[in-house]
Amino acid sequence: MSTETQKGTLFTPWNIVAGIILAAGVVVTIMRFTMGLGAVTNLSDNNPWGIWIGFDLLCGVALAAGGYTTSAACYIFGFKRFHGAVRPAILTAFLGYALVVFALNYDVGRPWRLPYPIFYQQGTTSILFEVGLCVFIYLTVLFLEYLPAALEWKRGFDKYRDILVKLTMGLTILGVILSTLHQSSLGALYLIAPSKLHPLWYTPYLPVMFFMSSMFAGMSMVIFEGTLSHKHFHHKMDDEYNLGYEDLQMAFSKAAAWIMAGYLAMKLLGLAMDNRWQFLGTGYGAWWLVEVVGFVALPCYAYAVAYRDRNLKLARFTALWTVLGIVLNRFNVSLVAFNWQLPSVDRYFPSAGEIIISLFVVTIGVIAFRFIVTRMPIFYVHPAYKDSSH
């Protein structure tokens, strides 16, 4: 897969697939911005939000939560041995958020007005306003957190790099605040539509649920992404990274297991307090059980076992499992359980164009990640900065 080193093999399977996706993405992009949303999406008056919100925004933000969880663990909770994992997590988060914002340009009708709610006229009663503001500021924070790596790559900016490194603690705290706010706000977006979201998913706890699940989503992504990176960028990694890395996977398995257990308890509590047990007997109830038992309870248990037995393989497998569970949850809230009372002919299913753009965005993310980690000190400490605390 790693093509840089094998000269003359430009036509690897990965490159061919990526090339096709990029080409298709460009075509759909041109269609979208010349012919309007209707030409490439299956969105309708009943289904104003499709996978560009359900996947690109909701999943994108949840899975980029590794940035704040890892840097908080390292800098605030003092798990210094995870230091090596911070840069990859920050980079993943930064790219994740940048792509979320990039993808939003496709979804909104007049993307050039995206700064309006922040700089021109503020709809402060809107949860979406809060989401927008936090994502905007957090993207800036992540950029500043990532910047030292770029400045170490192109030498000669030590002054700026050192200033940024000094800001690490402040930026980390700011990052945690902003993440708490917008991760939960994404759930709160749906609080306004109790009549549209199925009662098994609609609960006043939605904001807390989204926040809690973002934590284990982020940790799982760190484990998952670390595993993948190990396969493909092993030659880039130094001892500090490698030493801390397995430790981190174990620690995050344990933490994720605990948070998932709490999340599970909240799911059941919501059900009991609103007395919604009767819905469990329906088709939606079965689907809810698939999500909650199959993609929360079981992986929670698997994480706990993986931690107890120090079973790295199981932890990595569970990470992927949990990531899929998060995607399933966000899809359920935004697409499957949303508009559940509409007749099936009026329900939404994504168009080819929408799927292509979502793949396009993910592909750009992977390419950008590869570009950066093969050039900048992400998996290793730059020799010139060995003694620096960052």
Partner: protein, 350 residues
């Protein structure tokens, strides 16, 4: 088990509930300021499904001509909703098979506390003095959260426009109201199924009709309280509103109230987290410090032990050399002292 659980949970982290109350009060204030706002009462028992209101709406709002003419009543055989080219439509329902159908006109209900306005992050929607909920296309970003939020599925979008897509919905004929005219549909209705007036008076009229025709109407004015109340009210013949495709379970909680808890948590989170996190940081720093000083204590203990051992050895030697001559004693003492000094140095190095 309704609102503000989010806040309640954060309350566990030491947050007061005060900010939630203010957020709610502020949003309710908007409504109290409009006691004389207008509205429309729709009486489904009077509607004959002639589509004259649809035609009038199309005309007064300069909307594109429809595919089928307005006097073509076969359109009524399918259930429709409003769209970007149609602010209002009439649907046909048959609550009791074999009995005559009932018709319902659908358009924006001009909520007292509109979900669309509460949801919009550029404040493109406003509840105006007239009672109309109006939209400003000059600021709209096109995020379509208003469409997600509206409990009545009213706002529609111009999905086919690449550069100037707008959210489209009934304006209650705001331009005409400001000129002192009636809404187009109200004026066109041949059966007076639509009545324009002040909301309060319309409510009285609605309840008079329900009370004056025992057994005819559902005993409920739809929109009196739904989602915090609407300016456009509906009364309908028995058996139910549900038979006319209307959601009877919307509840009376207004849209701003549904989200005020989560919004009120914002200052709480922003206030509490820095304190909490700095505290945690301090604890982890302190842990490091304690570990550091424990290490140092261990080192000095080792040194102390080493010199104590040396002293013990010295006195032992002294006892042994009790009878020996002074010179030998002196030599031994010197030796022992040297050994002790050396041991001390080693201890320090450790």
């Amino acid at each position: 088990m309704k609102r503000r659980h989010f806040l309640g949970l954060l309350g566990a982290a030491g947050v007061t509930l005060g900010s939630g109350a203010t957020a709610k009060a502020a949003s309710l204030g908007d409504v109290k300021g409009l006691p004389n706002a207008g509205g429309v009462l729709f009486d489904a028992s009077r509607c004959i499904g002639c589509r004259k209101c649809e035609a009038a709406c199309n005309q007064v709002n300069d909307l594109p001509k429809p595919a089928k003419a307005f006097d073509d009543l076969t359109v009524l055989d399918a259930t429709r909703r409003t769209d970007a080219k149609t602010y209002t439509i009439v649907n046909k329902y048959v609550p009791d098979a074999g009995k005559p159908p009932v018709f319902r006109k659908i358009q924006c209900n001009h909520c007292m506390e509109p979900a669309c306005a509460s949801a919009c992050f550029v404040a493109a929607f406003k509840k105006s003095e007239t009672g109309a909920v109006v939209y400003d296309p000059d600021v709209c970003v096109g995020c379509r959260y208003c469409m997600v939020a509206c409990p009545f599925n009213i706002p529609a979008y111009e999905y086919d426009k690449a550069f100037t897509p707008r959210v489209m919905k009934c304006t209650m004929c705001q331009p005409r109201l400001l000129e002192g005219k009636l809404p187009g549909c109200v004026e066109a209705c041949p059966k007076e199924a639509l009545v324009f007036g002040k909301r309060r008076e319309l409510l009285n009229l609605a309840w008079d009709r329900i009370g004056g025709n025992p057994g005819r109407y559902v005993e409920h004015v739809y929109g009196e309280r739904e989602m915090g109340g609407t300016s456009w009210l509906t009364i309908a013949p028995k058996p139910s509103f549900a038979a006319l495709g209307m959601d009877e379970n919307l509840g009376t909680t207004s849209a701003p109230e549904l989200t005020s808890g989560a919004l009120a948590a914002v200052p709480a989170v922003a206030g509490i987290w820095p304190v909490l996190l700095t505290g945690l940081y301090a604890i982890s720093k302190r842990k490091e410090k304690i570990a550091e000083s424990e290490k140092q204590a261990a080192v000095s203990a080792a040194i102390a032990k080493a010199s104590a051992d040396a002293e013990a050895k010295l006195s032992e030697e002294l006892a042994k050399a009790e009878v020996a001559n002074k010179r030998r004693i002196e030599v031994e003492v010197k030796k022992a002292l040297e050994a002790a000094a050396k041991a001390g140095e080693e201890g320090e190095d450790a």
